[in-house]
Structures are given as structure tokens and as C-alpha cells.
């Protein structure tokens, strides 16, 4: 390739072979890599976004389970009150009541 002059550049622009004049064909692998990287970047961003949406949805699910657990715990604790148990036993017609003396322990010699 001879010396690149202004006239040649103008002529090559007009004739449509400016890229060949600039020998851009040598950079083609790099351009392809750049393109691939750009594509991968967009693709990964898309995937990350989708994963984050899923994470957020799962967070909501976990939060719901946590709430459910807290409310069940509340219900169990509520039922564990001595007076409540006594009342339930009484309402159920049970003969079981509160102890009248402490539990006895057996020890051996």
C-alpha cells in the first residue's frame, strides 16, 4: 500500500473502500471479540436482573413463612398459659387439674 494522502482518502470514501484503505480488516477479530463481549454483557445483565427478580420473589416467600411461623408461635404460646390449659381441661370435662403437691422424686441408695 502506497502513501495515504488526503486525495486518496477522499477518493476511497467516494469509492466506498475507506475501511480497506485503513486496513480495518486486520482488526476484525478484535471487533468480533468486542461485539461478543458487548453481547455477553447485555445477556448477563439480563440474567442477573431475572435472578434478582427471583431473589426478591423468594424474599417475599421467606418473609411470608417467617410471618406464618411467628403467628403460629404466638398461638402456641397463647395456649401454653396455665389458666388457659386449666380452662380447656375444665371445658373438656377432664378430671385432670392443677397439681396439689410437687412431683416426688425417687432416689436410690
Amino acid at each position: 500500500m502506497g502513501k495515504v494522502t488526503f486525495k486518496k482518502v477522499i477518493e476511497s470514501i467516494l469509492s466506498g473502500d475507506i475501511l480497506l484503505l485503513l486496513r480495518v480488516d486486520r482488526l476484525l477479530p478484535y471487533i468480533l471479540v468486542l461485539f461478543a463481549l458487548g453481547w455477553i454483557n447485555i445477556f448477563l445483565n439480563y440474567k442477573i436482573e431475572r435472578t434478582l427478580v427471583e431473589v426478591e420473589n423468594n424474599k417475599v416467600l421467606l418473609e411470608n413463612y417467617k410471618i406464618y411461623h411467628a403467628q403460629k408461635t404466638y398461638q402456641f404460646v397463647k395456649m401454653g398459659r396455665i389458666s388457659t390449659i386449666e380452662e380447656m381441661l375444665e371445658n373438656g370435662g377432664s378430671k385432670v387439674g392443677t397439681p396439689e403437691k410437687p412431683a416426688e422424686t425417687i432416689t436410690t441408695k
Binding site: 469509492s15 410471618i67 398459659r81 389458666s83 410437687p102 416426688e104
Partner: protein, 712 residues
């Protein structure tokens, strides 16, 4: 020839030349590219966008405030006393799809009928699931139908439902559709829940949610709000293509810090027992208006129960102002124990010392103090003119204690009052739950303006002083604890995820008396419950040492109704405070408790004594705690030697000759566990439950041998 060549060469050159149209086309694109590049440079470096326009072209973002989770309040054994959890309010857009159905000339009517039919089913489901009083399916159906007719888009259906109920509601027709079709609107609100209801509510406090500051000065919720609340966080979120919101990694993200849990010294079982006993004994007694109970752990001073009940205008008892810690008053005869402790500690008396009875009259101040009728009764009964100090204590004689104190400290009253100050009775100790509006305890001092000739003897029997029930309990607790006074406390730990962040250890305030004095006082207090004013406690399931007290209460100016006597109104009506305080079991005390009842204004001659409702409440508390307490269980020793337990016929993988286990009917996991644990190797085919095994169950096989199982 040359001309021909020339012409051919032109034709050749013309062939190589691009066509003119292509050239124009190319130039057009070239020009466009120049314009585009120029435009890009202009937009990038020169053009300034209008902010109003920009926001529509950028992805949506919003700042989300992350609320912290309010810490829980726990009892001494880790049981939940207060927990935060969201509850849901359900609303319905009754007008949903109505317009669309009206516009739809083809299927609109059919769609509308279908919607209304589903709404009827929804009404039925709501009535069945919510089961609210007076709200049947017709109620919900009318609400929906009227709402639809009147274009109502926000009709309340249920409030404060839990997550489980919400899930059930979401299964119902219409509510199982997206909101824009079914009309379901769910609003989540964080609520503070108290599993034990009214129990210890004044101690625990009241908040509706984490941001509620209306009752912030009450109870543990108020006192420890700064720890329970946590810190708010914030996060920026951006909208995704799928209309979801995700954290914007390029913006600030500050996570919320959940609140700390507060672990109290309360034992909710003891609280329940005390609450129930107090309700039982004052609920039906129309003379009593309010009452409180405190139970302390003898060794540490930890508050195990604190009940504060008042009656409303309908007679219903509810947890109210913390009288136990914040209502100092003249305690009456329970103060005689403080007087006796002072006299004993100063060597001014013994329990056996005899005092002349003198018909219960203080001769040197007969015009100032009343005759003691208890002494008159004593003289009539025993025909004696002397009384021992312990007998005077047992019958709670005012005369005996006035006489003792006047004789011992008449010349130097400051010696007596300074000793009382050393019992920490003159000022509130730094108790966590002293509420706004609480009174100030006081002990009179000879150098004060109000000190009179009767102040000393009045103080000796529990008048002229003002102490809270908690202070009285702390003093009796010191007697039970060999004279060592522990500071009452109600919070033992601040936790985060079960890990202690800060611990509050028991604090020794001082030694109020020697062990010998404490033992002597215990003997006197036992006498009160066996033969004295609290004889009803003689029948308690374990022995109690304690003292009754009954005192007139100061009336407010409004209550005096024109009377100049601070203890009675113009009709001579009085209010009384009845107290029983003691510890149990008397010989090896574990708990100290105080029960105080407050009457409404009662006619002359009507009273509620410390030996009545307060002592009865105390007995109920002792009886029930005793039955639950494993530390006091009776030990049964075996009469003979118990044979040592010997292992017999236990097969393990080390046992040679052990047999192949029977795994028929088991699932794979259980079957594999049984086989491998017996020292064999499991091989399986199929899925389901074991229907066949080789070798058969019970067969002898060498260790390591394969057992084939077939599942079906």
C-alpha cells in the same frame, strides 16, 4: 484500430465505475452518517435535556424505607411476652370489571352474572372463615352487592387477620384472581401481639406497633423502646422489564437493624398464679377497688411477678398504673417489722422482753394517741399486766411498738430514722419501671418542719412514712436473705438472636441487719402466721413467715369533700390499704411476696384487713407455687438396693450372629438406616415401600453381606 482500443478501454473503465444511482445512494448515506455523528457529538457535549422529560426515559426508581423488626420481650424462661408480626386488613374493590362488562356487548352480561355468582360464593366463604359475630354470608353479600351498585372501590371486609387466614381467603372465588379482576386489596400492618393478654400488661407495656409512641413511658415497652425499636434502613429499588422491583446496586443500600430482645426476670407461670389469686380474692369483694402483688426471688431480688389490678366502673379488673412500684403510702403494721429490726439490731429489745400493758394507753401522750384495743382484749383474755414483744408483734399491737420506740429513741429520734433510711426506704431505688406520676417515698426526719411529738411513735407503727409495696417486699426479702438486701430488678438480659449483648446481674444494696437479727425476725414472723393476725396462712401448703398490715389511706382533697381530716371525708368514710407480706418456705425461703389491696371509701366501722383478702390471696399463691415447684419435691428413697440395670439382648453391628432386621413396609430411608446400622450393605430396586427383602428378616447373615430390598 487505436480508436477501437480506446473505445473498449472506455467501456472497460465505465464497467468498473459504480453506477451513478449507487453513487448518489452512497453519498446520501455518507451524508446521513456525518449528520448522525454530528448529532451524537451535539447531544453528548452541548445539548441539555429537560429534567421533566428525562425522568420518563430513565428506568423507574424509588427509595424504600426498610422497617426494622421490633425486638421481643421474653420471660425468665425465654417464653414470649410480646412479639411483633404483621396482620392484614382486607378490602375489596367491588366495582372491579364492572365497566368492562358493561362495555362488552357480546359476553358482558354473562361475565357479570359469573362475577356476581362468584361474589355470592365469596360471601359464604368469608362468613365461614372469619366467623365474626353478627357477620353471616348475607352481611358480606350485601356489602359487595351494594358496593358494586354504588361504585365503591375500597370496602372493608376484615381487619387484623393473620397470615394463615389470609392464605385461606386467597383460595376463595374472586380472591383467588389478581386484584384487577377479583378486587382483593390486602394491607399489611405491623402489630404488637401479647400472647398472655392482660397478664403483666402494665409491666410489659403497650404499643400498637413499632412506631407507636403514644404509651412510650409505660412498662418495658416504654423504658426499653430505644433498644426494642431497632434502626430503619433504606434501599433504592429499580423497576425491571417484568414490572418487578429489584435493588439498585448502583445506589445506597443500608440494611435495617432489628431491635434487641429484652429478657425479663418475670416467670409468666408465677405471674399467672398471682394474677389469678388476686382476681379471685378481690374480684367479688365490692369493698376493694384495686390490688397489687409482687413476688421476688429471695437470693437475687429478681421480680418474678408483678400484678397491678384496678376495677373499672363496671367492676371489671384490668392492669393499670404500677401501684407496686409507684404508689408510696403509709404501710401500717407491716412496718412494725422494720421497727423491730431496728430495735433488735440496736440491742434495745429482745422478743421475750416484757412490756407493761397499761391498758394499752401511752401515759405520756394519752391525749395524742388512741388506746390500743388489742391490749385491752389481751388483758381480758390472759389476765396479765405485761406482754412480751413477740406477743405484741403477733397481735400487731400499736401500743407495744409505740412504747418500745418511745422508750428506746425518745431522746434521740434521729438514731431511729437514720436506721430506717439505711433500709433504702426513704427514696425510690433506681427501679426500671417507676412510672411518670409515681409518688415519692419518704421517711420523716426530726429536723423537718412537719416533725411533731407523735411523729416518732407514729413512724414506729407505719404511719408518717410513705413506702411503695416494692420497697416493703425488698425489706422482707432481705430478712429472708439473712439480712442482705438485694435490689429488685426486672430485666436480666438484652439479647440479639439469642446471644446476650448485655447482662444485668443481681445487685446487693446493703446489709440491713445481721443474720442473727434476721433469724429472730423470721421467728417472730412465723409466730404471726401460726398464732397471730395471719392465722389463715397456717393452713398453707408450706410454712410462711409474714406480717399483716392495715392502714388508713390519705384521701385527696376532692375525696375529703370538705373534711379537714386527711383520712376521712365529711361523712366519716375512709379508704384502707390492707397488706400481707412474707416469704416462703419459712425455713429455707425461695420467694418473698407482698399483696396489697386498696378499698373504695368505706363507711365507719367497715374495713378490709391485711389478714383477710391480702392474706387469702397470699395463701392461694403459696399453695399453687408450692405444687408447681420441683425444688420442693419430696424425695422417696428406695427401701432396698435398686438392681443395676444390665443390657440384655441388644444387637449392634458389633454383635456377631445378629439377625437380619425386618424392613418390610418401611420407606427406603428407614430401611437403609436399619440395614446399614445392623452392619449389612443395602441394595435396593424400585420406589415406594419395601415389599420384599433377601435374605429374609431374622435370617443369620455375616456382617457386610448385601441385603437386597424391593420397593413398590
Amino acid at each position: 484500430m487505436a480508436g477501437k482500443d480506446k473505445a473498449e478501454s472506455r467501456i472497460e473503465r465505465d464497467k468498473k465505475k459504480p453506477s451513478r444511482w449507487l453513487m448518489y445512494f452512497y453519498l446520501l448515506f455518507l451524508l446521513l452518517s456525518v449528520v448522525i455523528i454530528g448529532r451524537i457529538i451535539y447531544i453528548q457535549y452541548i445539548w441539555k435535556p429537560i429534567p421533566e422529560h428525562v425522568k420518563h426515559f430513565r428506568p423507574s426508581k424509588h427509595k424504600d424505607v426498610i422497617d426494622p423488626e421490633r425486638g421481643s420481650i421474653l420471660d425468665h424462661n425465654g417464653r414470649l411476652l410480646a412479639i411483633s408480626t404483621p396482620l392484614y386488613d382486607i378490602y375489596m374493590d367491588c366495582y372491579v370489571q364492572k365497566e368492562a362488562n358493561e362495555k362488552n356487548s357480546k359476553n358482558g352480561t354473562a361475565e357479570e352474572d359469573k362475577w356476581m355468582n362468584n361474589a355470592r360464593k365469596l360471601s359464604q366463604g368469608l362468613a365461614e372463615i372469619l366467623r365474626e359475630e353478627g357477620k353471616d354470608s348475607a352481611y358480606y353479600w350485601n356489602r359487595i352487592r351494594n358496593g358494586r351498585a354504588n361504585k365503591k372501590k375500597y370496602v372493608s371486609m376484615a381487619k387484623g387477620i393473620d397470615h394463615g387466614t389470609l392464605l385461606e381467603l386467597k383460595e376463595l372465588p374472586l380472591f383467588n384472581l389478581p386484584g384487577h379482576k377479583g378486587g382483593l386489596i390486602v394491607e399489611k400492618n405491623e402489630k404488637r401481639l401479647y400472647p398472655y393478654g392482660e397478664l403483666a400488661r402494665r409491666v410489659i407495656g403497650y404499643v400498637k406497633n413499632n412506631d407507636d409512641t403514644s404509651a412510650i413511658h409505660v412498662g418495658i415497652e416504654g423504658k426499653y423502646h430505644y433498644l426494642l425499636h431497632g434502626k430503619k434502613g433504606q434501599a433504592w429499588e429499580k423497576r425491571t422489564d417484568k414490572s418487578g422491583w429489584i435493588p439498585d446496586a448502583d445506589s445506597l443500600y443500608k440494611p435495617a437493624e432489628d431491635g434487641f430482645d429484652v429478657k425479663t426476670t418475670l416467670d409468666i407461670n408465677l405471674q399467672d398464679i398471682a394474677d389469678k389469686a388476686l382476681r379471685k380474692n378481690i374480684g367479688e369483694n365490692d369493698k376493694i377497688k384495686a390490688g397489687c402483688v409482687v413476688i421476688l426471688d429471695v437470693e437475687t431480688g429478681a421480680v418474678r411477678a408483678m400484678v397491678n389490678l384496678q376495677k373499672d366502673s363496671t367492676g371489671r379488673l384490668y392492669e393499670s398504673f404500677n401501684m407496686a412500684a409507684g404508689q408510696p403510702a403509709e404501710p401500717g403494721s407491716v412496718f412494725k417489722t422494720m421497727t423491730l429490726a431496728t430495735l433488735l439490731e440496736d440491742g434495745k429489745t429482745t422478743l421475750e422482753k416484757q412490756i407493761p400493758t397499761n391498758h394499752g394507753i401511752m401515759q405520756d401522750m394519752a391525749h395524742l394517741v388512741n388506746q390500743d384495743q388489742y391490749i385491752v382484749n389481751y388483758e381480758n383474755r390472759y389476765h396479765k399486766n405485761t406482754i412480751s414483744v413477740i406477743h405484741g408483734f403477733q397481735i400487731s399491737s400499736n401500743y407495744v411498738f409505740r412504747r418500745l420506740v418511745q422508750d428506746a429513741y425518745g431522746n434521740n429520734p434521729e438514731e431511729f430514722t437514720s436506721r430506717l433510711h439505711s433500709y433504702n426506704l426513704g427514696a425510690n431505688f433506681d427501679f426500671e419501671l417507676t412510672e411518670r406520676g409515681s409518688g415519692k417515698p419518704s421517711i420523716p426526719s426530726p429536723d423537718e418542719a412537719g416533725w411533731s411529738g407523735t411523729s416518732l411513735v407514729s413512724t414506729a407503727i407505719g404511719y408518717s412514712v410513705k413506702v411503695t409495696p416494692l420497697q416493703v417486699a425488698a425489706f422482707y426479702n432481705a430478712i429472708a436473705n439473712d439480712g442482705k438486701m438485694m435490689k429488685p430488678y426486672i430485666v436480666e438480659r438484652i439479647e440479639k438472636d439469642g446471644v446476650a449483648q448485655q447482662e444485668f446481674k443481681p445487685v446487693l444494696l446493703n446489709s440491713v441487719c445481721s443474720k442473727a437479727t434476721a433469724d429472730t425476725l423470721t421467728r417472730a414472723l412465723k409466730q404471726v402466721t401460726t398464732e397471730g393476725t395471719a392465722k389463715r396462712l397456717n393452713k398453707a401448703r408450706c410454712q410462711v413467715a409474714g406480717k399483716t398490715g392495715t392502714a388508713r389511706m390519705h384521701l385527696t382533697v376532692a375525696e375529703q369533700n370538705g373534711s379537714r381530716n386527711p383520712y376521712e371525708d365529711n361523712l366519716g368514710r375512709k379508704k384502707h390499704q390492707g397488706t400481707f407480706v412474707g416469704f416462703f418456705p419459712a425455713d429455707n425461703p425461695k420467694y418473698t411476696a407482698i399483696v396489697v389491696t386498696y378499698t373504695r371509701k368505706l363507711d365507719m366501722g367497715v374495713n378490709v384487713y391485711g389478714g383477710e383478702a391480702p392474706a387469702a390471696t397470699f395463701k392461694d399463691i403459696v399453695d399453687e407455687i408450692w405444687a408447681y415447684e420441683t425444688d420442693w419435691s419430696r424425695e422417696i428413697e428406695a427401701d432396698g438396693d435398686m438392681p443395676d440395670m444390665k443390657a440384655k439382648n441388644i444387637f449392634t453391628d458389633k454383635t456377631e450372629g445378629s439377625l437380619v432386621p425386618d424392613v418390610t413396609g418401611m420407606g427406603l430411608k428407614d430401611a437403609m438406616f436399619a440395614i446399614e446400622n445392623s452392619g449389612y450393605v443395602c441394595e435396593y430396586t424400585g420406589s415406594g415401600h419395601v415389599c420384599n427383602q433377601t435374605p429374609k428378616a431374622g435370617a443369620a447373615a455375616r456382617k457386610g453381606q448385601k441385603i437386597n430390598i424391593v420397593l413398590r
